[in-house]
Assembly symmetry: C2
Homo-oligomer: 134 residues x 2
């Protein structure tokens, strides 16, 4: 895997302190944080960072396909450092969002009923392993 610096260069993104921090934070977790979660975590080490920068950076990263955005029912927007297509599971009780790598999706066809498919998003909702046990 290429370094962050390299991936930024490839896409013509200037590697500012803020952008690097945001991406490093995101890549270190798999819980699909929201803007607020990212801000709250980073503002401790970087007290001057602003929420607008988080928004700007994430918009740029999504545009350049270095980050994926998820809009799951009722949860607002969440961000995912993994851009390879995969599905997500939302636990309606604890709210956590889990990656599901192995779900093969039938709708990966290029064309459906005459419409050109560019992207497939599959969200499963239910009770996660832990919450289900009670």
């Amino acid at each position: 895997m290429k370094s962050l610096q390299e991936r930024f260069e490839d896409k013509g993104i200037r590697p500012s302190q803020q952008r690097l921090r945001i991406m490093k934070y995101l890549e270190g977790r798999h819980d699909h944080p929201s803007v607020d979660m990212i801000y709250d975590a980073l503002v401790r080490e970087m007290p001057t960072i602003s929420k607008t920068t988080i928004y700007n950076t994430l918009r740029l990263m999504v545009e350049k396909a270095l980050v994926a955005d998820l809009t799951i029912s009722g949860q607002g927007v969440r961000y995912d450092p993994v851009t390879e297509p995969h599905s997500h599971f939302l636990c309606r009780k604890c709210g956590q969002v889990i990656d599901l790598e192995d779900i093969e999706c039938p709708c990966l066809k290029k064309e459906v009923q005459g419409n050109k498919v560019e992207e497939v998003r599959v969200y499963l909702i239910g009770l996660c392993k832990k919450c289900h046990r009670r």
Copy 2:
């Protein structure tokens, strides 16, 4: 298909003028309107209706499973009078949301990786038939 009145009674919902109007409007279309679209259309025939009532009614209908809510990437919440499970296609150019009845979904399993699946939402994004032709 049962009448609206009957379906309301079954669920213990009082059939107020507003609720009936909102549901009738929704059932007459298949373009998955937003709260604003519904409000703008109804306020002409019912000048005193309030947006809060639209929100309240839709929340109730979703709760009682007479309406489905869709949260597609970037489009805010849209509402669908069809509650049988089916998929949706969003055209990234013209913004329309199309029903896809025939997409069979592989993930209709009851359980995935230990998590209990209660609901499956599949969104396809791309260019619709019309927009694609250009």
